[in-house]
Amino acid sequence: MSEIEIEQLDIDDLTLTGEQYLLFNVAADTYAIPVTQIREIIEYTEPTQVPMTPDFVSGIINLRGGAVPVINLACKFEQDQQEITKRTCIIIAEVDGSENKRILGCLVDKVQQVRDIPEEAIEPAPKLGSTIDTRFIKNMAKINERFIIILDINNVLSLEELEIVEMMQENSLDV
């Protein structure tokens, strides 16, 4: 963990009114998730593959005796797959499932920092022109003339979708 370098962004007008977010990189873009939804960040360990699941499911890892499914965000966002480096991390996030909270891991290329994003810097999600599925985007934040995508993590990792995709995958194999 100590080897992860925190890259500081230059921020104008830093205020403490907004919510705190974790900023991280997947492929070329910077994304953010509210820290309240993050349980911890761990170093990359190679997940165990789970056969017959969609490609974006990297597999499961052992998190202190429990199995945590890991989602490859680059794959989920249909972005170019990056090589595994020492900066590759797994963010352990809490997702509100249909019944109760679930723990899921997100494979990301680099974790940047935790910072406040002032409310005035947050803009609604665009309907068009985004590189990823707009359902995954909760808001956009403009910091220092750069756009950061605030993810709707519940949608990204929505369980129902995972299950449906899984079933589709299985059915397609049968044919």
Binding site: Q49, V50, M52, N62, A67, G97, E99
Partner: protein, 733 residues
């Protein structure tokens, strides 16, 4: 405060439910054997404890109702009211009412007021007129029951010393005497005033009076003590009449072996009141002499009664040294403990891995010792959740009794293998499906007595419930000797419902398994017990959700067996570690029959057919890497391939893998909801290295593979050669 209350409530409820369950099984025992005093006592104890617990929380409804029930139970225990089937049914009904009262406390369900009123009335009827009720129930036994009703009258000696505060607390001597007069006749009253203070120190509001009273009455000792109950600083001793001595001795000898304290034995028998005991115990602390001696000295009990109580105490002590003590623990705490132990074991293995290269004998010794302890700890921890299935099985006695009474069928219900152990969660979830199967067996399986006699069968139907362990799973069997399943009827119904086609050729077991299809019922008449066809599919679904499977065997006219096979989840299983395409998988060792090594030529040969010749038998193969669609990680195919032969429901199947890594001990952990649709795996485990490995569920893997095989066979034109895992070769097998 609130949460504490909730916690207490939940303890009350869970303990209450346990007691009620015990009461029910005791009632059933009592019905078949009315002279069983131990069962009688179990019923009584359960009612009494529930009343006591309810009293602690002030649940008046439960207190009032159990009080009536308890009063009647006392009469029954003393042989005044005979035990009849009607009476047992009434107690059963009362038990159900108490259950619903407890449910209503936690907001689930409501108490049926009519039912409650009616049951109360019935209980009171028995109570008010035991003789008449007994006569009505058992008219021939007139003389026997009549003599037992007489309670002998005797003279109680009451030594009453009123406390100085008596008047200030608002008690009136007149009222005390009036109450005593209601119980019997005061034949003599001697007033003592031993410690009257000097005249100038007298406080007119203080009481310094003592009496020695002789009361002629047929009441119980406790009834007298109740009069003085609230007079805190009053000291009293009641010596029961000689005539009662025999009665107490008899009750003491009938007491269950459970209470080892002499005072408690006396209190339970009625020879001593709680308050007298408390006073005696207080004095014992001061003087140090024996409780029994103090009691006789104080004039609370006769020496003879004390002797029989001492004899009982010794008997009890001998018995209690054999009984096992139990502790009630919150299940989630256990789960946490088990998880923690699991983590500890994994970390322990990591530590031993890290220290392997350090040349230090003492360190190595310490690590080995630690690992041994950890291993033992893990086994013990995992064993904590394992319970015998007996607890589940016993509940069905009631189901059988009620169902058979309702249908007018005689059932001989037999339970075996109750000691078979399984995980508590599985045990809990299996209750509903089993209830359904048993009711089905009685309703559909067993014929009416008249019909049975025509078929040369004993009029009494036989239903058996058994459990045993088999190859890493637990097997539960529900069998009956009824009419069996009618294949023709099932086929016709299935054709009618469009489940199969007119000219489909089905094997017997395939036909029987049609009954698990949703909405399937061959019963011509829908009864309130079964026949709506909304059951067997639910049963099947429940079993499958436990990763088990269910099968039916039947022979027309002879009977039906329903066989449920369930995995022993969460148990430590011995696994066999295999590797294919750099992915590790664990196969439960119990499933493994043997391992084979194939040469490259054999492998090629095998790839054409998907089966090999194993000592003259056809061994179908599943290539795991193809079945699981694993990506290729190795440049070259390994020279030799390994086949691990597994056995499932009597059939052998080979799994083709890259390499074999031998035995490992594993703990099955569930995969979680996300992967619930994933077939072929029963869970995952964490290997010593800290890596996660999937555990292959052999039975569902084979089912899944054969389904895929069938689908691919149906979707592909015959003869087309395909590289798919499972191809048309199946037709040749």
């Amino acid at each position: 405060m609130n949460s504490e209350m909730d916690e207490n409530l939940s303890i009350f409820i869970s303990e209450g439910n346990e007691l009620l369950e015990d009461m029910e099984s005791a009632l059933l025992d009592l019905e078949s054997n009315p002279n069983d005093s131990e069962s009688m006592n179990r019923v009584f104890r359960a009612a009494h404890t529930i009343k006591g617990n309810a009293g602690l929380f002030g649940y008046d409804q439960i207190i009032d109702f159990t009080h009536i029930m308890e009063s009647l139970l006392v009469e029954v225990r003393n042989g005044i009211v005979p035990i009849t089937s009607d009476l047992v049914s009434l107690f059963m009904r009362s038990k159900d009412i108490i259950t619903s009262m407890m449910d209503s406390l936690v907001g689930s369900g409501e108490v049926d007021q009519n039912d409650l009123d009616e049951a109360t009335k019935l209980l009171e009827h028995y109570l008010a007129d035991p003789h008449a009720a007994a006569l009505a129930a058992n008219p021939c036994d007139e003389d026997g029951s009549a003599t037992q009703v007489e309670t002998p009258t005797g003279i109680f000696t009451i030594n009453l010393k009123l406390g100085t505060e008596t008047f200030r607390q608002g008690f009136s001597i007149k009222a005390i005497f009036r109450e005593l007069n209601e119980l019997g006749v005061i034949t003599s009253a001697n007033l003592f005033m031993p410690d009257i203070p000097k005249l100038d120190e007298i406080d007119p509001e203080s009481c310094h009076l003592s009496w020695l009273l002789l009361l002629e009455s047929s009441c119980q000792k406790q009834a007298i003590a109740d009069i003085f109950e609230f007079m805190d600083d009053c000291e009293f001793h009641i010596l029961s009449p000689e005539s009662k001595t025999e009665e107490y001795k008899k009750i003491i000898s009938l007491l269950p072996n459970g209470e080892a304290v002499i005072g408690q034995i006396l209190v339970t028998s009625g020879a001593l009141t709680e308050k007298e005991l408390q006073t005696a115990l207080d004095r014992q602390k001061e003087t140090g002499s024996r409780t029994g001696d103090i009691l006789v000295e104080q004039g609370d009990v006769q020496p003879e009664v004390l002797e029989s109580a001492i004899a009982k105490q010794q008997q009890t002590r001998a018995a209690s040294s054999q009984s096992i003590e139990f502790l009630r623990v919150n299940a989630s705490k256990l789960d946490t403990l088990i998880n923690l132990v699991g983590e500890l074991v994994i970390n322990g293995e990591r530590v031993s891995g890290l220290t392997e290269n350090i040349d230090d004998d003492k360190l190595a010794e310490a690590v080995t010792e630690m690992n041994e302890t950890l291993e033992e700890m893990r086994e013990t921890a995992l064993g904590l959740r394992i319970v015998p299935i007996d607890g589940v099985f016993k509940r069905f006695n009631r189901t059988v009794r009620d169902t058979s009474n309702e249908l007018g069928k005689q059932i001989n219900f037999e339970i075996s293998g109750g000691e078979t152990e399984l995980d508590k969660t599985v045990a809990e979830k299996i209750t509903d499906p089993l209830t359904h199967l048993i009711r089905n067996a009685i309703d559909h399986g067993i014929e009416k007595p008249s019909e049975r006699e025509l078929n040369n069968k004993p009029p009494e139907g036989h239903v058996a419930l058994s459990a045993y362990h088999e190859t890493g799973s637990i097997v539960i069997k529900v069998s009956d000797d009824g009419k069996g399943l009618n294949k023709e009827k099932i086929s016709n119904k299935a054709i009618e419902r469009g489940l199969i086609k007119q000219n489909d050729k089905l094997s017997d077991s395939e036909i029987y398994n049609l009954i698990f299809e949703p909405g399937f019922s061959t019963a011509e008449q829908v009864s309130n017990i079964s026949g709506r066809g909304v059951g067997m599919d639910v049963v099947k679904r429940n079993i499958e959700s436990l990763r088990g499977n269910i099968n039916v065997e039947s022979e027309e006219g002879i009977g039906t067996n329903v066989i449920i096979q369930l995995p022993l989840t969460l148990a430590i299983i011995d696994g066999f570690l295999i590797c294919t395409e750099n992915e590790d998988f664990v196969i439960p060792l119990d499933m493994v029959v043997e391992c084979l090594r194939l040469t490259k030529e054999q492998t090629k040969e095998m790839e054409k057919h998907n089966y090999i010749n194993l000592r003259g038998e056809v061994l179908p193969l599943i290539d795991l890497k193809k079945h699981f669609c694993l990506p290729k990680t190795l440049e070259n195919e390994p020279e030799t391939k390994n086949v691990i032969v597994v056995q499932h429901s009597g059939k052998k199947t080979g799994l083709l893998v890259d390499s074999l890594h031998g035995e490992v001990q594993t703990v099955i952990k569930p995969l979680g909801k996300i992967f619930q649709n994933l077939k072929g795996f029963s869970g995952f485990t964490i290997l010593g290295s800290g890596n996660v490995s999937m555990i292959i569920d052999v039975s569902s893997l084979i089912t899944d593979a054969s389904e895929k095989q069938r689908d691919s066979f149906m979707n592909q034109p015959h003869g087309q050669n395909s590289n798919e895992t499972i191809s048309s070769e199946s037709a040749e097998i």
